[in-house]
Every structure is written in structure tokens, then in C-alpha cells.
Symmetry: C2
Subunit: 250 residues, 2 copies
């Protein structure tokens, strides 16, 4: 466990920000289809070793029973490393696993309904691609947003990327942290952070990498370097970020 | 609304048996893939018009949001006709829709976990194919069982059928009602009811039929004829069934 890490017993949304301001720096979505034969557990363990502190379990093929069993094993691995486990889409699985939260797309359960089921202490993230969706999600009780897709990506071909301008508008419109997703790599992280993102979320950039830990570490360093260059996250209590959200959790 | 039907406000498991002893006679699973282009709503409305009082929403392709929206519309249609709505697999959707219950396969959430999430009043059904699974499900708090597959069927090719002997063993081992599923047709209903089933569950036999209502009506008549020939369900309070489960709800 590193000194900044969360303890299992302290994992709840009310004190998330206070414990680790950089929690959103690198958010890794484990997707088996992109993991080159590696399991969710292997991917998560390697990403955590590389410094990620938020792991999302996403698997559209598994049965509910498999998702629950995998989620329970992941929770152990993630909490052991001081991270938090978010379940994609499935509020029932998040409840069964007692995960730290759930991530909801626009085609998933509405956030307000999920909040009623999950209670106040669980983290709810919502995928948004416009200011309107961002405001609605914040109003519905979301704790963080996943803004996507920032750049074009081979895995998400269904919508035009929102670009750095779209990201900036979303970040400026809400108080909650915004994690940028879609086509993020080492070369564009600084722009993404400067646009107001609290961190980056990645799938293939980490889970398809031959060395997952090294890939995570490299991206994380770049996020931290970008934040440091802006004077953000210098120390808890002192924050030169311009956004309210960044001041809370950035 | 027919005189024997349940009212929306009365739909809960504690009084299910008392209100309509024949509720399990014909249980229809709406499966879009087998419905020849008709929607869940169309299938349900026609099956209810044909006399079915239990409708299960099953759709493995829909997003969570679509399932919830469809479930809400189905609930209205089903309750209007005095029936109950069961959601396949998804406890989160059942909660979001406030459906009457959930049906769980052996690959879905364990029934005991689902019971904790759904509370005492919701109906939980479990698919079983052996005495051991039946006893475990009853112990876990299931309200009814779906015993499958009784006969070979083109839609379920993953396991050998349990036959009438397998069905009889399951029915004899538990107190809760057992609905028989898999290859049921007009020609074998009498044997299935004589083996102890509280009713039959069908997918393609009803939802793929050119006239869904007529197909449902015909199957239902045969179930009632078979029960009447055994002296079962003659009148509330008087029941000549041999099984405890049949005495409760059969």
C-alpha cells in the first residue's frame, strides 16, 4: 500500500477527495476483448502496479454470475492496492459485489435511479459527450463524468469525437471531476489536462499493451507532469486549478 | 380485467397464491428473437388476451435503458390484464421497473443475493434441471422453479432434457410451484401436469405462433383440462393435488 492510498474501510464517496486528490489521474477500464488473452484480474493487478487507482470492470459477454465472481476477486485486488472498483453498467452487479461504484453510459440506467438503488455512499460515474448531458448527469447525482470520445478511436466508431473544445465546455460546466476518454495517449495528455480534465481514462492504451504496468506508469507520469506544470495538485489544501471540480478532487 | 385476476396493488408474493390459484397455468416468456418481428409489448398483449397471467421479459440484446423502458411499458400492459411481470436475469432492471419479480438462471445472480436486494415481497424464480438445484433454490428463497428442459428443443441445445422423470423428481422434492419448460406442446401437457408441474412455461410455442392469442388459449385450455382431470384447482380452498406445492399454488 502506498502512503496516499485509500484503505478499504475508507472507500466511500464522501471522503474520496480528501484522501487522495490524484485518484482520477489514471482510470483503467479492463476489457477482456482488448486484453490479448489476459484476464480482468491480471489486467487490474498490472495497472494497479503501474499506479492506477481506479479500475472499471467492463465485460458485455460474461454472465451475471461470472461478473459477480470476477467483481469479487477484482475488489480484493483493487482494495489491496488502495484503489477503487467501478462496475460498468450493472447496478445489480455493483450491489452484489459491494463495489465502490458504477459507471453508466447514456444507454444504461439513468443516474438518478441508480442513486436510489445504490445509496449515498457509492460512486456514480456517467459517460457524457455534451454540456447538456454533463449538466443533467451532475443534477442526477453523478460523482464524476467520463467525457468521450475526445479523439477518434478504433474502438468507438459510433459518434464523432468531441475534441478538446468539447472537453473544455464539459469541464467548465460542472463542479464534479471530469475524466477524459477516447484516443488519449502520451502525446495529447497535456492538452487534455489543460482543458480541465481531472485525469484520463484508458482502455486499449493500457490493457492491450505488452507491458500493462509500464504503459500505465508512463501515462500516469505524463498526467502528473502536466498537472505539475499547471501548478495543480501541489499539496492537499493548496490547489491552483481553475475549476471548482479540480479544486475539489483534481 | 377478469374476476380472478390480480390487481396491481395486490401483486406481491405473500398473497399471490390466494388470489389466483391458476396463475402458473401458462407462463409466457417474450423473446424478441423468436417473435417474428413483433415487439415485447405486442407479444405480451396477445398472450394476456389468450389467458396467460405471467409474462417474463427476456432480451439479451437490449441495453439496460431499453430494458427499463420496455419493462415499464410491459408492466402497464401486464397489470392492466391482471397478470404479473417477471424480468429475466436482471435484478437491477426488476428494481428499476418495480416489476413483480425476477427469473434467475444458474448463470445469473444467486437467489439468496437477489432476495436481499429485492426484499420479501418480490417473486423470485429459479431455473433448475435437477433435484439438487431445486432444493438449493428453494432454500435460497425462490418462490417458484422453472424446471428445464423437459423435452428436447431447438432453442436450448446446451443440455440433455430431464424428461418427465426428472420433472417428477423436482416436483416431489420441493414445496414451491414448479413450472415446466422446454419442448412443451399440446400433446404432452397432460403428462407434464401429471408429473406434478403447477403449469407450463413456453417461448416459441406462443411467441412464434402466427396467432399468439390463439396459441396461448389452446395451451391454457389443455393445462386446465389436464388439471381438471386430476381434480386439481376445482375451487379455492379445495385441492386434490398430491404435492404440497400444488396445494399451495397449483
Amino acid at each position: 500500500m502506498n502512503g496516499n492510498a485509500l484503505n478499504g474501510s475508507e472507500l466511500n464517496r464522501s471522503n474520496l477527495g480528501g484522501l487522495d486528490r490524484g485518484i482520477w489521474d489514471l482510470y483503467v477500464v479492463t476489457d477482456r476483448k482488448l486484453a490479448c488473452g489476459r484476464s480482468h484480474e491480471e489486467v487490474a493487478a498490472a495497472a494497479l502496479a503501474g499506479g492506477s487507482r481506479v479500475i472499471q470492470l467492463r465485460d458485455k459477454e460474461m454472465t451475471t454470475r461470472e461478473l459477480i465472481d470476477t467483481g469479487l476477486r477484482l475488489k480484493e485486488i483493487v482494495h489491496e492496492a488502495g484503489g477503487i472498483l467501478i462496475i460498468n453498467d450493472r447496478v445489480d452487479v455493483a450491489l452484489a459485489v459491494d463495489a465502490d461504484g458504477v459507471h453508466l453510459g447514456q444507454d444504461d440506467m439513468p443516474a438518478a435511479l441508480a442513486r436510489r438503488m445504490l445509496g449515498r455512499e457509492k460512486i456514480i460515474g456517467v459517460s457524457v459527450s455534451s454540456e447538456g448531458e454533463a449538466l443533467a448527469a451532475e443534477l442526477d447525482g453523478a460523482d464524476y463524468l467520463g467525457a468521450s470520445a475526445i479523439f477518434a478511436t478504433p474502438t468507438k466508431t459510433d459518434a464523432a469525437p468531441i475534441g478538446l473544445d468539447g472537453l473544455r465546455k464539459i469541464c467548465d460546466s460542472v463542479r464534479i471531476p471530469v475524466v477524459a476518454i477516447g484516443g488519449i495517449n502520451k502525446g495529447n495528455i497535456e492538452q487534455v489536462i489543460k482543458a480541465g480534465a481531472a485525469g484520463i481514462a484508458v482502455v486499449s492504451a493500457v490493457v492491450s499493451a505488452p507491458d500493462i504496468g509500464a504503459a500505465a506508469r508512463e501515462l500516469l507520469q505524463e498526467v502528473r507532469r502536466a498537472k505539475a506544470s499547471m501548478g495543480r495538485c501541489a499539496a492537499p489544501g493548496a490547489n491552483a486549478g481553475t475549476r471548482a471540480g479540480a479544486q475539489r478532487w483534481g
